[in-house]
């Protein structure tokens, strides 16, 4: 049964129902509480809003277009498919919407150094970009495995002046990069701002990242109303931590007639242990500052996630998604590595848009949905990143040497 969505969440404890919170070591607690106050003030401060809007327009290139993917719509046969084109943003993904806000906040708090974790490298590149623009020292933590599969982004970050710290602990992926970023933050708490890349972490991060990414949904809502004269039947987005998805969904949460669909990474299949679908295959637990669904073993040790997409390769998910899952407001599906690879190629051939492997997961479910909704249906999918960073990895999977 669907419970009513509570739009005032998070509450004063940083909770979305039973999820969220502030599970951090005491050293960080005062800073996290300060950040909450600073964010509360900034988000309603006209000067901050004006500053954000200015950079979003002139530096990021917003609003991003909404585009009727005509040939894909024809190919699937059914609903009309629209892409919200956040891959056209400066740096090639939705990540910069969030980085811009957090770096401006860091400046406001007088911090001189920003740190970030990154999986696919998109968040690292976006943070390094904005840090370069505002003259802040930038250190990016990246799993050694990810450095190997995302070489172009690693070089881009270096060009932008960021220091890359390879993380070898654990499986050397996003979760381990986040552990190491937290360790750095505990150590350099005085001068450092941690720019978290997804709608997870201790309160106020899930709320702050959601608010900053909601620009996607606000624009999409206005654009589709203008183009089609009505709201879509469904919005679809891929989910790792879930920042692009919550950004698209949030402005539609009160529109009960709009189905919201998140697509997790099923890796080699949900029946295997090699996937990254925290909602479909996990249980509530505590990691990286919040209580949320996590992939974990029978003894509460965090399991390693797997996905072809480095950006989805995370054993947790933002706490607001856990809440939306439990109340039934958002449907959470999944797509496998192979389905993402197929969609990646299909989109490239039919639309001339090379999607990142992350939104290729969303696209894999859009096909089924288009058929289900039929000819009068309307779908908005968040094309949250471009696939240039993935061409080497995809070539590898297709057995092609370049």
């Amino acid at each position: 049964m669907t419970k009513k969505y509570n739009s005032s969440y998070p509450d004063d404890h940083g909770r979305f129902g039973d999820f969220g919170g502030r599970y951090v070591p005491e050293t960080l607690m005062p800073l996290v509480l300060e950040l909450e106050q600073v964010w509360k003030k900034a988000k309603t401060d006209p000067a901050f809003i004006e500053q954000m809007d200015g950079y979003l327009k002139d530096y990021v290139g917003r609003p991003s277009a909404i585009y009727h993917a005509e040939r894909l719509s024809e190919h699937f046969g059914g609903a009309k498919i629209w892409f919200k084109r956040d891959e056209l943003n400066h740096t090639g993904a939705h990540k910069i919407n969030n980085c811009l806000g957090q770096v401006l906040l860091a400046k406001r708090m007088g911090k001189t150094r920003v740190i970030a974790e990154t999986g696919a490298g998109q968040h690292g590149v976006a943070t390094a970009t904005v840090a370069a623009r505002f003259g802040l020292e930038c250190v990016v933590f990246m799993g050694a495995t990810d450095i190997e599969r995302q070489k172009p982004n690693v070089f881009r970050m270096k060009l932008l002046g960021a220091k890359i710290v390879p993380v070898t602990s654990g499986t050397g992926t996003l979760k381990d990069a986040m552990n190491e970023a937290l360790r750095d933050w505990v150590t350099n708490v005085d001068d450092t701002f941690y720019v978290i890349g997804t709608a997870a972490g201790p309160h106020p991060y899930p709320e702050m990242v959601r608010d900053l990414q909601s620009v996607i949904g606000r624009e999409a809502r206005e654009q589709i109303l203008q183009r089609e004269g009505r709201l879509p039947d469904a919005c679809v987005a891929c989910i790792g931590g879930g920042s692009n998805a919550i950004g698209l969904f949030y402005p539609f949460l009160d529109d009960k007639q709009v189905r919201l669909i998140g697509v997790e990474a099923a890796g080699k299949g949900l029946q295997t242990t090699k996937h990254a679908a925290s909602l479909s295959g996990g249980k509530p637990g505590i990691l990286h500052g919040n209580r949320t669904y996590l992939l974990q073993d029978d003894d509460g040790q965090i399991a390693d996630a797997h996905s072809i997409s480095a950006g989805l390769d995370y054993p947790g998910i933002g706490p607001e998604h856990s809440y939306l899952h439990d109340i039934g407001r958002v449907e959470y599906l999944s797509a496998t590595d192979q389905e993402a690879l197929d969609s990646f190629q299909l989109c490239t051939r039919l639309e001339g848009i090379i999607p990142a492997l992350e939104p290729a997961h969303a696209l894999a479910r859009v096909g089924d949905l288009a058929k289900e909704l039929g000819n009068n249906g309307l779908i908005v999918m968040n094309m949250c990143g471009r696939g240039d960073k993935d061409v080497f990895a995809v070539a590898g999977h297709l057995g092609i040497e370049i």
Binding site: H13, G21, R22, Y23, V24, P25, E26, T27, L28, M29, P30, L31, S169, G170, K175, D176, N179, L182, R183, V186, T187, N188, V189, D190, K283, G285, I286, L287, H288, G289, R291, L294, Q296, D299, G300, Q301, I302
Partner: protein
């Protein structure tokens, strides 16, 4: 009974104008059997209180030494049940030495706050430190611990200042654990003057003993820190010695650290 065990351990040293020595080790490193040997021998080597680390896959406040110890322990398939069985063996062998479990929230949360507190009490555990469970999140576990007469030991950091300090101290029992540096375990060496000031400040708000940890590695540092506090915690140095040279070398180090801590100047 349990919380008294902790107070008694501090009182005994304080009566002789000495600081209390607290030794940390990782349960299951490199496996349960060898870590049992270390655990059971720590009191005779000089530890007044023992802190037993519960391994966790993602220990965000630990330096490399303790991270790797946790990894070795998990690779040897250490389970929470195994950690509790070590505690039980310890209690049987040492009826009076306090035993504290230290770790991260998820494995405990996974078992259930209540279930865990009950099992820990049954195993003879006296106190709990959960690094990522600040006062804002600790109510359900604190309640479960109180019902089972287990102390909830909280960390106070150099960043815990102003109005926050009395607030964090208000729910503490057993002793206060002051984190001497902003950083991870086994990292920077604490500044003695800063530590002394912080401990003085904490004592304005609580009558409980204050122990200092993070960054204390040598008998020299232990003695300097012992001079300005009620207790000294050493972890990484013991874990590293155990890993590199074995149980016997770890006991020798513990003896030196304990002697230094007990020798207040």
């Amino acid at each position: 009974m349990s919380i008294n065990r902790i107070s008694n351990a501090f009182a005994k040293r304080t009566a002789n104008n000495q600081s209390t020595f607290i030794a940390y080790m990782m349960a299951g490193d490199p496996d349960l059997a060898i870590s049992r040997e270390l655990l059971l021998g720590l009191p005779d080597a000089g530890a007044d209180i023992v802190e037993l680390g519960m391994p966790f896959s993602d220990p965000v406040a630990e330096g490399l030494t303790i991270q790797q110890a946790a990894q070795r322990s998990l690779l040897a398939d250490t389970k929470m049940a195994g950690v509790l069985s070590l505690a039980k063996d310890f209690r049987k062998a040492h009826p009076d030495t306090p035993l504290i479990l230290m770790g991260y929230a998820n494995p405990v949360h996974h078992m259930g706050w209540q279930v865990f507190a009950k099992a820990a009490a049954k195993a003879g555990v006296d106190g709990m430190i959960i690094v990522d469970l600040p006062p804002e999140e600790s109510d359900p576990f604190a309640k479960a611990l109180t019902e089972n007469d287990i102390a909830l030991i909280r960390l106070i950091a150099p960043t815990t200042v102003g109005e926050r300090l009395p607030k964090v101290l208000s729910g503490v029992s057993g002793f206060v654990y002051y984190v001497s540096v902003t950083g991870v375990t086994g990292d920077a060496v604490p500044d003695a003057t800063e530590v002394a000031n912080a401990v003085q400040n904490i004592k304005l708000h609580t009558d409980l003993p204050v122990a200092v940890g993070f960054g204390v590695r040598t008998p020299q540092t232990a003695q300097i820190i012992a001079n300005c506090t009620d207790g000294v915690v050493v972890g990484s140095a013991i874990v590293a010695t155990m890993h590199k040279t074995g149980v016997k070398a770890a006991f020798e180090l513990v003896k030196k650290l304990a002697d230094a801590t007990h020798c207040k100047t």
